[in-house]
């Protein structure tokens, strides 16, 4: 697994340059709490060189809005909607309530302080 650091501003450009639908396979989006920041990760694999897993990651504050990659990767909306509910982060153009009931306490995967 090779990890590629990116930032919020360059995220769409980096992934847009990297991702080709006929070459790469978007696996999943993940988020891990690191201190008081959140590490958001995008995992890609390769059809031709299958053992290469590429992980783009960026460290953000919980209240920062993360740009959506829906227009680059068409199936990313499921992963984004799930993270919005489970990690209580903000993603552009994504509403809450896909995973949890709307009245439920959001962000159950975040560590209780």
């Amino acid at each position: 697994m090779n990890k590629v650091m990116t930032s919020i501003e360059n995220l769409k450009k980096d992934i847009g340059d990297f991702y080709k639908p006929e070459l790469h396979h978007f696996m999943v989006m993940n988020a891990v709490e690191v201190g008081d920041q959140i590490e958001v990760q995008w995992f890609f694999s390769d059809y031709a060189h299958p053992c290469d897993t590429t992980c783009f990651y960026t460290l953000v504050r919980p209240e920062t809005e993360i740009p959506s990659i829906k227009d680059i990767v068409a199936s990313a909306w499921v992963a984004e909607a799930e993270l919005v509910d489970l990690m209580n982060i903000k993603v552009e153009n994504t509403q809450k309530g896909f995973v949890l009931e709307p009245d439920f306490e959001s962000g159950p995967l975040r560590k209780k302080k």
Binding site: L100, E101, F104, P108
Partner: protein, 174 residues
């Protein structure tokens, strides 16, 4: 023709997965298959709660499926028996205390038979359903008693005698 006497011979099953792992569901499907063939007891898996007598529930009840579970239970006609299949439907099993599920089906609706095991063998499901048949018969009898009581309602309690009203309406209609 009395409906109650046929109920024991052909109880219809309604199956609802309230958030389980599918393990018990495929065992229920295996019960419907040729090897265990639950149709020997006259049981058919029906999709309609309004025609079913036995509700087979699997899974700990998740927050999103609890309303559907209670609604399905409410739509079933009396007498009805609830069988919870598997450890997680009985008590929550390994999912006890997780944030999005409540421990067990009996926190929401009354359960008559608990089938233990994770996942349950089809034999255990058949055992549970056969026990449920006995309970269904008891419940049917209890209902017959209440109908007999309805015949002579106590006037001072202000009950409406539906039977008399029906008898009064009948000649008017015909």
């Amino acid at each position: 023709m009395n409906l109650a006497s046929y109920r024991k011979k052909s109880p219809w099953i309604l199956h609802y997965n309230a958030g389980g792992c599918n393990g018990c569901d495929i065992e229920i499907l295996a019960c419907l298959g040729p090897k265990y063939d639950i149709e020997r007891f006259g049981m058919i898996n029906t999709g309609n709660p309004k025609q079913s007598d036995i509700l087979l529930v699997t899974g700990p009840v998740t927050k999103r499926s609890r309303e559907r579970l209670v609604e399905i239970y409410a739509q079933m006609p009396e007498p009805k028996v609830v069988v919870s299949c598997g450890a997680c439907a009985c008590t929550g099993g390994v999912f006890r205390g997780m944030y999005n599920c409540e421990g067990g089906v009996d926190q929401y609706i009354p359960v008559d038979v608990y089938v233990c095991g994770c996942g349950t063998r089809p034999e255990q499901i058949i055992d549970g359903v056969v026990q449920a048949l006995g309970i269904l018969e008891q419940k049917t009898k209890a209902m017959e008693v209440s109908v007999r009581l309805q015949k002579e309602p106590l006037k001072e309690e202000g009950q409406i005698n539906r039977r008399n009203i029906a008898d009064q309406i009948k000649p008017a209609l015909s």
